[in-house]
Amino acid sequence: MFKKLLTTLPLVAALAMPAAAQEFPDRALRIVHGFGPGGNADTVSRIMAEQMSKGLGQPVVVESRPGAGGTVASGYVSNEDPDGYTMQLMVGGHAVAAALYESLPYESVDGFTFISTLGQFPFMVATRAGEYDSIEALIAAAAAAPGTIKIGHSGVGSTQHLTGELLDLRTAADFLHIPYKGGAAASTALMGGEVDVVIDTGTVIRPQSEAGVYDILAITSAERWPDAPDVPTVSETVAEGFAVVSWTGIGMPAGVPDEIADRIRTEVHAALAAPNVNKMIASLGAKPSPSTGEEMTALIEGQISVWSEVIESAGIDKR
């Protein structure tokens, strides 16, 4: 009997499928992301999945396909059917990868239908408390003694690394960039005195800044961050026009029909407005930022060109 059940189930499913193409969505959707379980990407994916499944009336599953900074997932999604059932949780690293990798198994911009950004968050420039009065003082010190002030970052080619290099590029400062395996390791190094500056997200910096161990000298977004109105931006102090935000967003394979893309976008925006989602995004230090597909495309393209410039001038090896 068990045997019969097991063999008839797939038959039933197979029979049911062709008849299904009536109402979108008629079966489970999925959100694929390129990072390990439990990271920011995974958490955001799961919360969005849960919320969106309510609006879509179908389950939304999360699939983790980590690898090569998220490019494995991007390559996978880009090649999937643009039938509207496959979404990808994309992050700022998508733009970085476009600039960093010599060749990718997908087109960074044209291979995708961008739906909307979910949240944007800035990086914070942190030092041990009391060591530098201001970001200007830090830059001045770094300019006066080239190669001695050390910035710890979360890995070669990471957005944090590139942000530090961009700071170097746009100011007179000349930092020594020390790679670590992840923001936590870099932060530990800052605490232990091994490096002098860390630029990273709120998740990494805030535990220490709230405890008074770190000073946040500046924030990398174009405008001051509502959560921290006293913290100046890099742009208004030492490098005009400096604007780095990392972001999360939803993308789909290229060629998704407009009606489906719009439907998904509506659901994404609705989910973003839900209080628990809002709270979650805020707790990760991000600002909920629903957008149009065009806005997201523009954001990504802009970032690709900035990162290309940084990688070029900092002499980072392309992969």
Partner: protein, 156 residues
């Protein structure tokens, strides 16, 4: 052993296998490593350690070769169980090939089934029943219990 039969002692060639294979590994590693930038001892490039490792393995391989060849009483390596090797490998390969395409349950079913034939005393009926039970238990454990995000059947 008081007396060693001549045909129980491994030949020189047989004794050289360990060292030789390791030497090949060392040389292959060195081959690839030499393409990476070396740098210097205090400014190591990505190639420094790989090259050192390649050389080290090769040297150790030579040492093992010398020791093994100089020891006529060397133990024979264990016999290779081909049946085991083949069917276990086949089972895992089938799982790997099917899981993304056919879903978890068929992959489990076939992987278990095929690997059971490694046992030379297995009977087809036992294999079938066992595979079904294993697939069922696996489904319960991984999909119902742990809720792993793997589709059970195709895209279902």
């Amino acid at each position: 052993m008081a007396l060693t039969e001549k045909n129980q002692r491994p030949s020189k060639v047989a004794r050289a296998v360990s060292g030789a294979v390791l030497l090949v590994a060392g040389l292959v590693i060195s081959f690839f490593a030499w393409g990476y930038p070396t740098g210097s001892l205090n400014q190591m490039g990505p190639g420094f350690i790989p090259q050192t490792i390649g050389v080290l393995i090769s040297l150790l391989a030579v040492a093992i070769l010398i020791v093994d060849l100089g020891d006529p009483e060397l133990e024979r390596p264990g016999a290779i169980q081909l049946r085991s090797l083949c069917f276990v490998s086949a089972g895992i390969i089938i799982f790997a090939v099917l899981v993304d395409r056919a879903g978890l349950v068929p992959s489990m079913f076939l992987a278990v089934g095929v690997s059971m034939f490694a046992d030379d005393q297995s009977k087809p009926l036992t294999v079938l029943i066992y595979s079904i039970i294993a697939a069922g238990l696996g489904w319960l454990l991984f999909l119902v219990g742990l809720e792993l995000p793997i589709p059970a059947f195709w895209r279902w």
